[in-house]
Symmetry: C2
């Protein structure tokens, strides 16, 4: 997909399949594609589930998305990616926003945002599309790096497996707010209840000790340091 | 498992099976059980992979561990847990420590700590063992809460599925440090290289608006606020 290729327009309401239909805690489920987009945009690491020899394998993997496709990659030698072509994968992205501390242990929980994407990933082999996909991935993880760092050589491109997964079949769940037992029999138990939020921040840039003197960090990296993640 | 039951002693060197043997990026793999323990202790949310109707399903789930067993739970109605008994699961815990910004896009990566545990989880049904397992889980996520909040009633206990997974078959991978292209042909390209660290912090406690006046947060929660996560 080059920059000029229009992205497929996916429905704003998420498709409900046997796999993505919300069964439990339905109040936490959303069918709004904008919620899915927000969760995917807020992260860059997913947990990719594949079936290898009949058993599940869950591998942390970097991803990028343009809103209609998720791209993920790895060495061609990677076991999880070799197992993928033609087979369904489940790609899950989760952000933990805090611990929900209720009056009872039973009502304890987690505030989180999570997206699950199901599908059969397509191996991207066309060199131009591969470059565009890697650009999408790189810019998703670290905006500004594609135009700054050295781009992949032909040999590097060949050594990289890039997979594209449609955002057709996906589900999203979000939990926010205080615990649910504020109006139950435990409300007056004298136990403190609330949320302990969890936040993620970028730290200060750490220059590679091997860096020659006088090479300053570019603005797109310097500006990101010390910022909170969404 | 009651408090007095001795835990099984697992070998200090991790077992290498077809699934846990490090194939790629072997320098990132560790066979030291202490590294596995450290990764599991530093987190509380895993991504649990199960096979449902032949397809993988990856679900974010809270866990706790005592060093020889991982406990995780959920409603008895949960699809992923119903699929689990008798079937192998893969439980993965990942901490992202930073972006590795290299001179070339190809050498970009992530500093991370990740553990993968394979096995057939055992449903814990004995009420006493279930209580001990839930205590382990609760204390792992929020130390101090088991003795502070109301413990599960008989009915709540029955509605909770608790699964125990041995730490027998597990692998751990850690990547730290600067990018790897500091001594390669791109070293003098003038491109800044280094690491953008990512940190996690607990925020300020947010009291439930439904909380009666005068209920103060207990010390074990107040002391955790604003602290960094390992």
């Amino acid at each position: 997909m080059t920059e000029e290729t229009p992205k497929p327009v996916l429905p704003e309401v998420l498709l409900q399949t046997e796999r993505t239909r919300h069964r439990r805690l339905r109040e936490q489920g959303s069918l709004d594609r904008a919620d899915l987009d927000a969760v995917l945009k807020a992260g860059f690491l997913c947990h990719l589930g594949v079936v290898v020899d009949g058993a599940p394998m869950v591998v942390p993997t970097v991803y990028g998305t343009d809103g209609s496709t998720v791209y993920f990659h790895g060495s061609v030698a990677s076991r999880s990616l070799v197992a993928s072509p033609g087979a369904t994968v489940c790609l899950t992205v989760t952000h933990v926003d805090g611990l929900v501390l209720a009056r009872s242990v039973f009502e304890h929980g987690v505030n989180y945002r999570s997206a699950m994407v199901y599908g059969v990933p397509r191996a991207v082999t066309d060199p131009e599309e591969k470059l565009a996909g890697l650009r999408c991935l790189t810019e998703h993880v670290t905006p500004g790096q594609w135009d700054y760092a050295r781009r992949p050589s032909r040999k590097e491109l060949a050594a990289t497996a890039l997979l594209a997964l449609s955002l057709d079949e996906a589900s999203v769940k979000v939990r926010t707010g205080p615990p649910d037992d504020g109006d139950g029999p435990d409300a007056d138990s004298g136990v403190w209840a609330g949320v302990l939020p969890l936040t993620r921040h970028w730290g200060a840039l750490e220059a590679d000790p091997a860096l020659p003197e006088g090479v300053a960090a570019p603005d797109h990296l310097a500006e990101r340091a010390h910022q909170p993640l969404p």
